[in-house]
Structures are given as structure tokens and as C-alpha cells.
């Protein structure tokens, strides 16, 4: 169990390191690409819709402030989690304290397990939210066949996954009362 938790937290840490990099690469690419698209549309090249560059700049800007987007989404959900992007200096792997896992009730044990996996849920939820923004850009360009509802579902459920430790107690209290 301890190894499994450590692995999950490690994978979560990798995702959390990759997200700022992807945000910067995609955001920069979107803004530069959008400016280039404006020129192409003026010359009548390509089949892009006139508003595509505007969407590209908007989503690129959102990616540059991805932590603020997550904070806004968390606040909307009523969560107290806060996201921030900062410099990375070192990494120390988490160690599980087995004495804290088993609770008095099954519900408490389950919540303790969820808490152990929190770093993974945070990372994976953030990655899904990021993916939904990238999907929105792809759909605006006409590169994707799915409808906008898929983007909304990905965004909403990404935020919910990010806040598993907030959602789980609420669901449990609903069933236990």
C-alpha cells in the first residue's frame, strides 16, 4: 500500500511539473499562431474562421494564468484549495504514515485513503482541466468533431476530481444521513 501511494504521488508530482511547461508551450504557440493566422486570413489563405485567432489568444492567455483559472473554478465549487505556479527547487518523496489510515468508521478510513491520494487527484484533475482548454482551441479551429459539451464536461469533472477530498465527504454525508 505504501509503495502504491508513493508511486501515485510521484506520478502526480510529474504531472504537476509538466503542467506549467505545457501551459507555457501551448499558450505561446497559440498566441504566436493566432497572430500568424490573422495575417493568413487577411491574405485569404486557409479556411480558418475569422474569430479563431481571437479564441486562440484568449485560451493562450488563460493557459498563461492557468493557476488563476483553477482558483476561480475551485472558488465556484466552494472549495478552499488554492493553486499557484512557483519555482521548483527540490523534491522530497512523501512517506505514508500507516497509523493514520485506519479510522474509527469505514467512512473515515475511506476518507483517509482519499486524503493519501490527494496529490495525485490534484494533479490528474488539473491535467484534465488543461486538456479541456486544449480541446476548446482544437474545436475552435475545426480540428475536432465533438461538440462543446465534451469540453464543458471535461472541465467540470476535472475540477471535481481536483476537489475529490471536498466532494467525497459531501457525498458520504448524503448517504449516511
Amino acid at each position: 500500500m505504501q509503495g502504491f501511494v508513493n508511486l501515485a504521488v510521484d506520478i502526480g508530482h510529474v504531472i504537476l511539473i509538466m503542467i506549467p511547461l505545457i501551459c507555457y508551450l501551448a499558450g505561446s504557440g497559440f498566441i504566436i499562431g493566432s497572430l500568424w493566422s490573422i495575417y493568413r486570413i487577411t491574405r485569404g489563405h486557409g479556411r480558418e474562421r475569422p474569430w479563431t485567432p481571437i479564441v486562440g489568444i484568449f485560451i493562450g492567455s488563460a493557459l498563461f494564468s492557468f493557476d488563476q483559472v483553477l482558483n476561480a473554478a475551485n472558488a465556484t465549487l466552494g472549495s478552499s484549495h488554492t493553486a499557484s505556479m512557483s519555482g521548483l527547487t527540490s523534491y522530497t518523496a512523501d512517506n505514508v504514515d500507516p497509523s493514520n489510515i485506519v479510522g474509527i468508521t469505514p467512512q473515515e478510513t475511506w476518507l483517509n485513503v482519499i486524503t493519501l491520494f490527494d496529490p495525485f487527484f490534484w494533479a490528474y484533475g488539473s491535467a484534465i482541466v488543461l486538456w479541456s482548454l486544449l480541446e476548446a482551441k482544437g474545436q475552435a479551429q475545426g480540428h475536432r468533431r465533438h461538440s462543446p459539451s465534451r469540453i464543458i464536461v471535461h472541465f467540470v469533472f476535472g475540477v471535481i476530481l481536483l476537489n475529490t477530498d471536498v466532494i467525497a465527504p459531501a457525498i458520504m454525508s448524503h448517504f449516511s444521513s
Binding site: I17, S61, S90, A93
Partner: protein
């Protein structure tokens, strides 16, 4: 049957060479898998240098040692912008020489405007971040950043 046909169509090799290509891939992948497994099991020096033999430690090391991505994008934007400045000036010049030709004045004007935007693309991103999130951009392209959630 349809699947087989589609697979053949997607293959890099003609259908007669599918067997050869599969064997080649297997022969290539097997040593790679063995080497990677041995490296992972033996706790290589690279992994240890990254802050322990963990995925997070290795990712930290890779992140801190990676290049400054901002410089790369700035270079690309500057090259594109320089091309657009030349194209824009050429369009205006061509229009004055031949007003009925394919180059119009607004082609040159838009090219120069977009070139200006590309020269200042990071400012556009910063202003966009202020507009969308009400705060300065936090993904700065530095070689070591991490998203922290508390």
C-alpha cells in the same frame, strides 16, 4: 477483413513487407525494454542525482535542466516578424508600382501590424492574462516551475 486492409493502408511498408517490419520493430523494442528495465531496477546515477530514485525526483531534475523555453519562442516570433516586415514593405512597394496587381496596401499594413504583435507577443500574452485572470501571467517559461495545489 476491413481492419486488415486499413492496417495495411496505414502501414509504413507495402503489404508484402508487413512481416519484415513487425519483426524489425520487435527486434528493436526488445533490447530497449530490457535496457530500460535494468536501468530502472539498478537505480541509475541519473535517477539518484535527481533527488532519489523516484519519478518525481527525475522529473524535477529534467525540469531544472531543461532549456529556457521563452528564448525559443521569442526567436521563432522574431524570425516570423522579420519576414512579415519584409513582406509588408514589399507589398506596399508593389502596390505603388502596380496598383492593379495582386498586392494591396492593406496587405502590407496588416503584415506590419502582425509583425509588431509578434515582436511584442509576450506583452500580448501578459495583457491577455490580465484580462482573463486579472493577474500577471504565472507560466513564465522558466526552466523550473511547478504547479502547487494546497
Amino acid at each position: 477483413m476491413l481492419y486488415t486492409k486499413r492496417r495495411e493502408k496505414l502501414s509504413l511498408f507495402p503489404s508484402g513487407e508487413n512481416q519484415v517490419s513487425t519483426t524489425l520493430i520487435k527486434q528493436t523494442l526488445k533490447p530497449v525494454a530490457i535496457v530500460l528495465s535494468i536501468a530502472a531496477i539498478s537505480q541509475s546515477a541519473l535517477a539518484d542525482a535527481g533527488g532519489g530514485n523516484t519519478l518525481g525526483g527525475m522529473a524535477t531534475r529534467v525540469s531544472t535542466d531543461s532549456l529556457q523555453w521563452g528564448s525559443l519562442f521569442t526567436t521563432i516570433a522574431y524570425l516570423l516578424a522579420s519576414c512579415l516586415v519584409i513582406a509588408g514593405l514589399f507589398a506596399i512597394y508593389s502596390h505603388t508600382r502596380n496598383p492593379n496587381g495582386q498586392w494591396k496596401t492593406h496587405h502590407g499594413a496588416v503584415a506590419l501590424l502582425v509583425a509588431g504583435g509578434l515582436f511584442a507577443w509576450n506583452l500580448i500574452g501578459g495583457f491577455g492574462s490580465q484580462t482573463v485572470a486579472g493577474a500577471a501571467a504565472t507560466a513564465t517559461g522558466a526552466n523550473s516551475q511547478v504547479l502547487t495545489i494546497q
